[in-house]
Amino acid sequence: MSLTELAAQVQSQSQSARSLSEAALARLEAASGLKATAWCVPDAALIQADALDRLCGMQKDAGPLAGVPVAIKANIAVEGMPMDCASASLQGYKAPATARAAYLLQNAGAVLLCGANMDELAIGTTGQHSVHGATGNPLAPGHVPGGSSSGSAALVAAGVVPLALGTDSGGSVRQPAAWCGVVGAVGTWGRVSRSGVMAHASSFDRVGVLSQSVADAALAMEILSGPDSQDASAAERDLPVLLKAASSGVEGMKIGVLKQAQAMADASVWEATQATVEGLQSQGATVKVLSLPELELALPCYRVLAAVEAISNLARIDGMRFGLKAQGEGFHQALAQARSTGFGPGVKERLLLGSYLAEHSADLVEPSRRLRAFLKLALFQLLGQVDAIVMPTTPGLPLAVGQQDGGTSDAFTVLSSLAGVPSISVPIGRVQGLPVGAQVLSRLWDERSAFRLAGAMESL
C-alpha cells in the first residue's frame, strides 16, 4: 500500500494511526535482531498517533502522511530524543529541538516512531560500526546492509516502517538502499534543510529518504523540500512536483550511460543495469553512451574533501558540554580522553586521515578542490546532453559480514555527491540472490527527471 493510500485510510478513519503505530512497534520488536534502531519511545509515538486520530475524528486535515510511522536516522534531531549518532562520544545527548526535515514529516502527519541505527557519526559504508550494534540486512542474511544509513534501510526493507529519513554524504542513503533492496533518494544539495542534522561533511551532506516505492520517496521529497530560516544553504526554489513525475513514463527521455563505469563494476552488476537501461529503451527512452575518463578519480577526491570537513564538524565533540563527559588533568588531556574513548576505530581512522590532509592542505586538499570543480563541470556537461544518467548504485554486490572492500562501494554514488545533483537508487532485482540497485542522476534542481526515470525503472 502506498503512503498516499495509507494516509487516506487514516484520514477517513478506516484505520487508526494508533493501530498503524502499534503494528509498527510490534514489527520493530519482532525485528530487534536486526539491530536497526537507535532509540524508540513507544509512548511518545502513540501520543503522536492519538493526536492524529483525534484530528481525523474532527474531520480536520491530518496531512499527506497522516499516521505513517517513520524512522529517523540517529544523526537527525527529534526533540527530547537521544541523538547519539551511534557514537559513544554523544551518548546521553538529547536533541534540544526537532530537525527541520523531521519536523516537516511530523507536520505532514507522520509519526516519528524510532531512531534508526547508523554507522557512527555517518562515517562508514557497512552499518557495522555503531554503539547500538551491527545492523543486519533483512533481505540478505549474512550480508551487511550498507551504510551509513544502515538502520533506515533495514527498517524499510524489513517492512517495519514504510519510510525512513537518512543522510547521504558520499552515498549513505543510496548505497544501503541498493543493498537492502529499497528506494533511496536525495535531491539537489540545498533542496532539503540540514538544520538539526549532525554534520559530517557539510558540503556533501544531504538529507534523503528511504522507502518501498519511488512514489513514496517522491511524496516524501515533496514534503521535505524548501527553504529554512535555520539553514542558509537551503534554497528558495519552486517546490518540485514529483509524485506525478514518478508515474509519467519515460517516453522521449534521453538517458546517458557512462562507459567508464563498466570497467569499474562487477560484470553481473553491470549486466543487471544494462538490462534496466534496455527496458527503459523499450518504453520509449533513447540511450546515449557518455564518457567521463576521470570517473575513477571521484572516490579519492571525495575521500580527501570529506575527511577534511569531517575533522572540522566533529571538532565540537570535546566532552565538555554534551555527550561523554571528559575526564583528565587539564583541557587537552581531558579532550584527548573523551575523543579517544568516545570515537570508534572507523571515525578515528577518518579523523587521522583528515588531520594529516589538513596539515598538508596546499599539496593534498587544494588539488582535490580543483578536481571537484572539474568533475562537477564535466558532469554538468554530460547532463547537458541527456535528461539523466543511469548507472549501478554500487560497483559490487552487498558485502558478506566481515568481508572488506576497502570502502569502494561508494565509487559511483560520490559522483552525484561531488556535484550536488539529485540521485535516486532503485532496486533492479537480484544477482546471485543478493539485492542490486541502479541509480539515476539528473541535473541540478531537476528532481523531476530523476523521479520520472526512477518510476519507470521500478515498473520494469
Partner: protein, 491 residues
C-alpha cells in the same frame, strides 16, 4: 652568533596594530542570542553558539551593515563578495572547535587613517577589515576552569593596520584615531575597559641596512596607554638584546601592565586548518546594501563620509565652520549623538561657541558622571538654548542654570515652567540681596570677625553661605558687591 654592534639609535621600530572591535549589534553574529547579557554568566546561549550537533549559523545582517559602515568610515574598498572560513583550534572558549572568521576573502580591504604630523596629514594604510565571532571567557582557579560563553559568537571586526608606524607614540595616536572613527561612525561602543576594543601589536626593530627585523607580537593591550608602554618596553628590550649581539626569535608576548612576557615561540604556532564554511553561502553585497551603509553613516551635521575618513579633515572643517578650537571639536565629534545634538542646537539658533561650551563643560561632565549616552537622556536642544537665553537676559544665574540642567537631563521638562513653579528666577532686588547678606553675617559672627582681622580667605566661605541662603539665585557679582559693602567697617 654575534652581530655587528651598531649605535642603539640606528634600530628603527616597525610597528603594526591589529584591533578587534565589538560591533554595536543587538544579537550575536550567527544566532539570535543577545549581545548584552550583562554580568550573569551563560545567560545568552543557544545550540548555535554552543556548537550543538546539527546547529547551523545564520549571518546577522546588522553586523554586516556595521562592518560595511566601518569600512566606509576608513575609506576602504567594500567587496561585493566575501566569505567565512573556519579557523580550527581546540580550546573550551571555542565551543565548535573552530572560530568563524573571514580569512581568505575579507569584506573590506585597503583603507587609510590619517594622523597629523606637524602641519602635515600623513595617511597610514589599513590593510583589511573582516568580520568574525568572539570566543567565550574562562576563569581559572586552582582546581577548576569556569566558562562563560555569553561572548561566544558576539560579532567583532578585526582591523589590521599596515606595519608602517615608527614609534610607540605614533602607534598610540593611530589607535586613538581609529577609536574615534569607529565610535563616531556608531559602529563600536569603544569602551576598552569592557573589551569592546582590543589591540594586539606587531613590532620589529629594523637594522640600519633596511632588512626586515625579527617580528614580535604583543597581545593583551587593552588601553591606549598599554599600547604605548608595552611598545616602549619592547623597543628598549629588543634594542638592548640587539645591542648586546643577541639573536632574536620570533615570538608572541603578553603585556602584564609593567613588562612583556613570552607566551609562545612562533614556531610553536598552531596550524589553523582553514576551511571555507560550507554552511554559509558567500556573503554577496549589492549596491542597495552598500548604499544603505553609506546613507546611515551617522548624520554628523556638517559632515559627509569623506570627512569621516580623516579625522583631521573633520577637525579642520568644524574649526573653520564654527570658529571652534581643536579641543572643542574633539569633544563634539567624539560620538555621533553629541555631534548631532550640537548640530541641532546650532540649527535652532544657538551660537556655536556657546553651545560647544555647554556641551564640553557641563553636559559632558554629567554624562560621564552617570555613564549614560546623550541620546539616553531627555535633554533637548531647546533646553540649552533657553538656559543660555536665561543667562543672557539675566533671568537666571549660572548656578541655577546648572541645577536646571541637572533636572532636565534626568527628567526633561519645560525650563520657563520650572523657573516659575520652583521660584528659581535671579534675585535682582538690592534690598532682598542686602537682607540675605545681613542674615548670613549674623549667622556667622566669628567668620565675619576673622575676616575683619585680616583673614581674607573667609570671604569665600561667606560667599558660599550666601549662595546657599539664596539657593544660588543671586549672581556672583551681585553677591560680591553686597558682601563687600556689608563687611565694610561701619562709619
Amino acid at each position: 652568533m654575534t652581530q655587528p654592534n651598531p649605535q642603539p639609535t640606528s634600530w628603527k621600530p616597525v610597528i603594526g596594530l591589529e584591533v578587534h572591535a565589538q560591533l554595536n549589534t543587538r544579537s550575536k553574529l550567527f544566532c539570535p542570542c543577545s549581545t548584552s547579557a550583562g554580568d550573569t554568566a551563560n545567560k545568552a546561549l543557544c545550540p548555535v553558539c554552543m556548537g550543538h550537533p546539527g546547529a547551523m549559523p545564520r549571518l546577522n545582517a546588522e553586523a554586516v551593515h556595521l562592518a560595511m559602515r566601518a569600512g566606509l568610515a576608513l575609506g576602504m574598498r567594500i567587496h561585493a563578495r566575501s566569505r567565512f572560513d573556519r579557523k580550527h583550534y581546540f580550546y573550551p572558549d571555542t565551543p565548535k572547535g573552530y572560530q568563524l572568521t573571514q580569512h581568505a576573502w575579507p569584506i573590506c580591504t585597503s583603507g587609510q587613517l590619517h594622523l597629523r604630523k606637524g602641519e602635515e596629514l600623513v595617511p597610514f594604510v589599513v590593510e583589511r577589515l573582516h568580520l568574525e565571532e568572539d570566543s567565550g571567557r574562562l576563569q581559572h582557579d586552582e582546581d577548576h576552569a569556569l566558562g562563560d560563553w555569553n561572548r561566544a559568537g558576539v560579532p567583532l571586526i578585526e582591523i589590521v593596520g599596515a606595519p608602517d608606524l615608527s614609534s610607540p607614540e605614533e602607534a598610540e595616536a593611530w589607535l586613538r584615531m581609529l577609536h574615534r572613527v569607529l565610535v563616531a561612525a556608531d559602529v563600536c561602543g569603544g569602551a576598552m575597559e569592557k573589551g569592546e576594543l582590543r589591540c594586539d601589536a606587531n613590532i620589529s626593530l629594523q637594522p640600519p641596512d633596511g632588512s626586515p627585523g625579527v617580528r614580535v607580537e604583543v597581545k593583551n593591550l587593552n588601553s591606549f596607554r598599554a599600547v604605548r608602554k608595552a611598545l616602549q618596553h619592547e623597543v628598549e628590550r629588543l634594542g638592548g638584546l640587539l645591542d648586546s649581539g643577541e639573536h632574536l626569535v620570533s615570538e608572541t608576548r603578553t603585556w602584564t601592565g609593567e613588562k612583556t612576557e613570552r607566551l609562545r615561540l612562533k614556531d610553536q604556532a598552531v596550524e589553523y586548518r582553514f576551511l571555507p564554511e560550507p554552511d554559509l553561502p558567500d556573503l554577496v553585497l549589492n549596491d542597495g546594501m552598500v548604499g544603505q551603509a553609506v546613507n546611515t553613516l551617522p548624520g554628523l551635521p556638517p559632515l559627509d563620509i569623506h570627512l569621516l575618513r580623516s579625522d583631521d579633515d573633520t577637525l579642520a572643517k568644524w574649526m573653520k565652520a564654527f570658529g571652534l578650537t581643536r579641543e572643542q571639536v574633539a569633544v563634539l565629534t567624539r560620538s555621533p549623538d553629541v555631534a548631532n545634538f550640537f548640530g541641532q542646537c546650532v540649527e535652532a539658533g544657538g551660537k556655536p561657541d556657546q553651545v560647544a561650551q555647554w556641551i564640553q563643560r557641563d553636559v559632558t561632565a554629567r554624562l560621564n558622571e552617570r555613564s549614560v549616552a546623550l541620546a539616553e537622556t531627555p535633554l533637548r536642544p531647546n533646553h540649552i538654548l533657553e538656559l543660555q537665553a536665561g543667562l543672557d537676559e539675566g533671568t537666571i544665574t549660572r548656578a541655577v542654570a546648572l541645577r536646571i540642567l541637572d533636572w532636565v537631563m534626568l527628567r526633561g521638562g519645560d525650563i520657563q515652567g520650572l523657573v516659575a513653579i520652583q521660584d528659581l528666577g535671579r534675585i535682582h532686588d538690592a534690598s532682598r540681596i542686602q537682607a540675605l547678606t545681613e542674615q548670613v553675617l549674623t549667622e556667622h559672627p566669628e567668620q565675619r570677625a576673622a575676616y575683619l582681622e585680616g583673614h581674607q580667605e573667609r570671604f569665600g566661605f561667606l560667599m558660599g553661605e550666601l549662595r546657599s541662603a539664596s539657593k544660588g539665585r543671586i549672581d556672583p557679582s551681585d553677591m560680591k558687591t553686597a558682601l563687600t559693602q556689608a563687611l565694610e567697617p561701619k562709619a
